[in-house]
Symmetry: C2
Subunit: 386 residues, 2 copies
């Protein structure tokens, strides 16, 4: 029987999956076209809608977040059509690559990584060219920034241009009100704040987006065609074999979120991320991003002068069994480390992160300003309950 080593998984996704959800995924397979599984899909729908902030159904696919980013664009773009992609990190860049693979005309709004975006830059560009869609990342896990979807949505309110949002690392950890904010396609995945194993992709679609999808005849994909998924969902099914056991896990996760209360879940994410940010700063680390736009699902920090990000990640893993992320983008290599605050995270996790991080910096010759400085700052932050 397969065994795996025991780590504290503290990545910005995939996140640690609670025991209760893991056990759900080990249940026997049901007929995916039978009444019991249909009831589960229906229950997932009811519980997903408030998390997306939508009154409409949420399509469920076997796939990763990237597959869903691609599905979102494939369903609304014909070759040669123009999209405007806001690029403020690695996942914005990924959207550009996807749009190019789909033969779209791609313009970008390059934003400085980790910094706020002035929506007037988008507004200005919208006046210069007609776009099928503005494409943005809600939560850039590569830089630790949550972007304001509502202010971009407001720009498109009376325009035929759609707003496509990647909320893979945001959804269920950071508020999403897609209907109110004017987001037209929001995609996400199971392995971030939804606390599940990876392998499920999600897409919520506005009536405005459906008008475009239904009007344009051809989607250059059979598998990812939202019309086919919607037609099946209207009968309570998925068009193709879904990841049955992962959907058991998703349902269990959604029940847990509703037991805690979605508002409480979001507040917990915000509170714990703030505490971790206070802690790492007290250890002498600088945030990677502008403080006031910090994400609640990931804390990204700069690697201190003279140290290498990979060495910190490796030491934390080997000496303290805590797995955090370094940089993935070549431009950031060695310069940023990132800790997830998404999913089933507790105060104890944050305190342990800071103890291990302090010890690691100490082991690598960069002792904290004072013993337990990080933990003390985090406890101070946690004591204030907004």
């Amino acid at each position: 029987m397969l065994t795996i080593p025991d780590y504290r998984l503290r990545l910005p996704g995939p996140t640690a999956v609670p025991e209760r959800i893991r056990q759900a995924t080990a249940l026997p397979i049901l007929n995916h076209r039978g009444a019991e599984f249909k009831a589960m899909l229906a229950e997932c729908q009811q519980r997903l809608k408030p998390i997306f902030g939508t009154a409409h159904n949420v399509l469920i696919f076997a796939g990763s977040g990237t597959a869903m980013m691609e599905a979102a664009l494939a369903n609304i773009l014909s070759p040669g059509e123009a999209v405007l992609v806001i690029v403020a990190g690695q996942f914005g860049e990924r959207f550009v690559s996807i749009a190019k693979a789909l033969a779209a005309e791609v313009d970008t709004i390059p934003a400085e990584w980790g910094r706020a975006l002035d929506p007037r830059r988008v507004e200005h560009q919208l006046k210069r060219r007609d776009y099928r869609a503005v494409v943005m990342v809600h939560n850039e896990s590569s830089t630790g920034v949550a972007y304001n979807v509502a202010e971009i949505g407001a720009l498109l309110k009376n325009s035929p241009t759609l707003l496509v949002v990647d909320s893979v690392s945001g959804l269920a950890g950071i508020e999403m009100k897609m209907d109110d904010w004017g987001a037209d396609i929001v995609v996400s995945a199971s392995q971030k704040s939804l606390m599940c194993a990876p392998g499920i992709g999600l897409a919520a679609i506005s009536p405005k987006a459906w008008t475009v999808i239904d009007r344009d005849g051809r989607v250059p994909s059979f598998f990812a065609d939202f019309r086919r998924a919607k037609a099946s969902l209207d009968k309570g099914e998925t068009p193709f074999t879904p990841p049955v056991t992962l959907i058991y896990g998703l349902l269990e996760a959604l029940r847990m979120i509703d037991e805690e209360g979605l508002a409480n879940v979001l507040k917990r994410h915000s509170r714990l991320a703030a505490a971790l940010r206070a802690g790492v700063q007290a250890l002498g680390l600088e945030l990677y991003n502008q403080q006031n736009i910090s994400s609640s699902t990931v804390v990204a920090m700069k690697v201190p002068q003279g140290l290498e990000g990979g060495a910190i990640v490796q030491h934390l893993r080997e000496r303290y069994r805590t797995v955090i992320a370094g940089a993935r983008h070549p431009s950031q290599t060695g310069k940023v480390i990132r800790i997830g605050t998404m999913g089933m995270v507790s105060e104890a996790d944050i305190i342990t992160d800071l103890r291990h991080l302090e010890a690691t910096l100490n082991d690598l010759g960069r002792p904290a300003p004072s013993a337990n400085a990080g933990v003390r700052a985090a406890l101070d932050a946690l004591a204030i309950r907004p």
Copy 2:
């Protein structure tokens, strides 16, 4: 905590997942870019190669079998290029739909469902037009037929035309020797004879196919681009977050296959399918397909005059807790029932299937020719060990 009702899952996929594999999928998430997970991917590679009958690596995706059918075509076809699809059932038709979504020119060789295909028809058509690929289904689970891949491969030996094979419901239950047979892209999925939960797609690719993929610049998908998957696999990874826990299950399944021995696994499938065919015929049911081309992973049978397939399926499920499949294709509705003999199937399963089927036919007013006729015929078939 989620619970599910207790059924005997006897579908032609998804199949029942053995306890040992289910428990593997409940293990905690590992960093999918860490050394331990890379070792698992490498072990999967080593164990998958003999099952595909290839010396080359097997790409692993988050997705379903249909996603992989589409990926296979998307990687080799440019819009307007011609493919020749052999259509002998529902999954052949699906390939046609996928090729059309990709804007290919599609010619078909329509074969009578459930009947043998004369390869000379393919040979003849190949002389009339240049095709980028011949596309076929190894095992048509909609009709219960396993087709001969080698004889189609032989036709393409000295031609630039590629052979694309869907072995979703064949692989690991029916022999696949892709290198010897001249198959260029073979796709499969986790939830059939591989005994796993659904959610993993697999693709094995010949050097001849790589020449085409590498030569053609543009693949109209970022997520499904085989070049990107291969480049990552060469570093021991997947390009995007893989379905980590399902891959634990796949590894456990592959270890189980190697413990039993691949040859023994294939022989078990063949023996049990033959026993089930003998049994259902002794109950007075006619096979849907021509006997000599019967699949070893699914038994498809005609519904007797005066009965309706859906009623048999429903009675088996409600009265005997045995879940089998009816027809999925509209042309077959009510006329065919299908039982899986794929994955972790035992003699006890076949005997129980036949007992429940006999009882169901009896309950519906179609008693067997003699009591236990099906089970006796199956036992006779099982007594002969080739």
